[in-house]
């Protein structure tokens, strides 16, 4: 193994490893984690790589500690990440909310396995979609991306760090066991071609108490002063005013929480990523993400061969939910088929935002949904055989 920072070149690479390399390439220099299948390979790769690039790898005592450690590292200015799976994510939720409230950029990787509970540790799932948005108490918005290949494990990890810094928000990489454990071609670009969006720093010089949480009216994102930078900042999970100090008033609370939500919602189009496949003339739009999108694409190809006008809308960003994609109108959609390895989480969202019939192809998890199952649903819709919603 070489000690290069960015492993520029073409690789045949494990999804989890591609994620780890994405982190290193993005400048992540702090990883705090706790092993859990099927995310452990990310930690193992970084245990080897961080010492090579001068970063910190620490295995914490549990997931509560993992997320707290990366928040602390982020407060100190580091790009910081943890990786886990459903049970671990369930343990991180309180501090996930702290990250939202303190507006500390972090990247949290969830390689989804069969859930709920201990479920199917080594088999895939996609049922933690709603959890990423609603798991911690209270209203908030975060960002979540769902990779469909090892290449995207790399690319979206880089993007996740950039988005986290741009919007001062936790970003979830919501992968699944299939993608995490799959080995495929990964092309890593030259170091200089990897984007690195800097954190916004305060303008004022560190002198006296600053309204350090006063948002930029443009994007509602306040600048971020790091520990040791001399600003003597205060960060709190309590409702706080623009100086960071506790302010126990309903008005301050409403303002703060609304801003935290709005800064992400307003940026929806900037954050949003999707892939359209044959949508131009599509009458039946298959919506899918993560590993299921691979089956969905195959199903669309097969349907097209039968003369069915099907297309694929692959959601790469899941949160904030891309309402705008649907409200702008998708192809000539007469019906949507949502395929996902859960019992209807994204379907619930699609139903909320479209008026066309929405048909679900669901499986609770353990094995990828096969192209045939999706094709089936598309055929039934095409031939009018299936009731909507």
């Amino acid at each position: 193994m070489t000690r290069r920072t960015v492993l520029t070149g073409t690789h045949f690479m494990h999804g989890d490893h591609a994620c780890a390399e994405g982190a290193i390439a993005a400048g992540c220099r702090f990883f705090g984690g706790y092993p859990i299948t099927p995310s452990t390979e990310i930690a193992e790769r970084l245990a080897r790589r961080m010492p090579e690039v001068g970063g910190v790898f620490i295995q914490m005592e549990d997931e509560l500690g993992s997320i707290a450690s990366i928040l602390g590292a982020s407060a100190a200015g580091a790009r910081a990440m943890t990786a886990t799976s459903g049970p671990g994510l369930s343990l991180m939720l309180e501090n996930f909310g702290l990250g939202v409230m303190m507006e500390l950029p972090i990247v949290l990787v969830n390689i989804q396995r069969g859930s709920p509970s201990t479920g199917l540790p080594t088999l895939p799932g996609q049922a933690d979609v709603m959890q990423a948005k609603w798991g911690s108490h209270g209203d908030y918005e975060i960002i979540a991306y769902a990779p469909s290949s090892p290449q995207e494990m790399f690319d979206l990890t880089v993007l996740a760090f950039n988005m986290a810094d741009r919007y001062r928000v936790p970003v979830v990489l919501l992968a699944d066991e299939v993608i995490g454990h799959m080995v495929e071609r990964v092309v890593i670009p030259p170091a200089e071609a990897i984007e690195h969006w800097p954190r916004k720093k305060p303008d004022e010089s560190p002198n006296g108490p600053l309204p350090i949480f006063r948002p930029d009216p443009e994007d509602l994102v306040p600048p971020l002063a790091h520990a040791g930078a001399g600003y003597r900042v205060h960060f709190s999970g309590l409702t706080h005013n623009e100086y960071g100090f506790p302010a126990m008033s309903p008005d301050t609370h409403h303002q703060l929480v609304s801003r935290l939500v709005e800064k992400i919602q307003r940026a929806g189009p900037d954050i949003s990523r999707c892939e359209s496949y044959g949508l131009d003339d599509a009458e039946i739009v298959v919506v899918a993400f993560g590993c299921t999108a691979r089956s969905a694409r195959q199903a669309v190809d097969l349907a097209r061969r039968e003369g069915i006008r099907a297309g694929l809308l692959r959601l790469i960003s899941l949160w904030p939910f891309p309402d705008h994609l649907f409200s702008e109108g998708v192809g000539r959609a007469e019906a949507f088929v949502v395929a996902e390895m859960n019992l209807g989480q994204v379907r619930r969202e699609v139903t909320r935002v479209v008026s066309q019939p929405v048909i679900g192809v669901h499986h609770a998890g353990g094995a990828m949904i096969q192209p045939a199952a999706i094709l089936n649903a598309v055929q039934e819709v095409a031939h009018g055989g299936r009731a909507a919603r």
Binding site: F12, P121, T122, H181, E184, M368
Partner: protein, 185 residues
Amino acid sequence: MRTEIRIAGFGGQGVALAGYILGKAVTLHTGLQAVMTQSYGPEARGGASSASLVVADERIDYPFVERPDVLVALSQEAHDRFAPLVKPAATILIDIGLVTGKNGANQFGLPATEIAEQLGRRIVANVVMLGFLTRFTALVDRDGMEKTIESSVKPGTVTLNLEAFDRGYCYDRETITPERSGIDE
């Protein structure tokens, strides 16, 4: 064209590494696509181990092997479990030192572990098998495989592995006969 390959055996036999080297060689030294997947026990412990590879000349969507075109079996259990699932015309390669295969036109064997032991490291049986496999399939040429091996194994073991590859590649290709395979018929 979609070719499905499964390499199966026990934990410790380097099954995953073999799959990885083959997939990497395809990726770096051919114009083809390759996807490798693995199967796991509870959480991620040892035990039976298998690596599956899909190779195709176009984008690979569904990544799993459903009915292999090529099966490499390094243990009896693996053979017995997976041999019934191959395509009708599939090629089955076995380590005849460890596996008792069924007689058949498409079944070929070599004593990979025995050869590896002769080379001094049992652990390179997987690479012996890769050499054997390279002869049987037209996926990657010898040169591509060798380059890939060089960049994938620990620096100190390159020569050994190339030797192992060569032994497998040059192994006298012959159909398994009932005699050699030691089947009770």
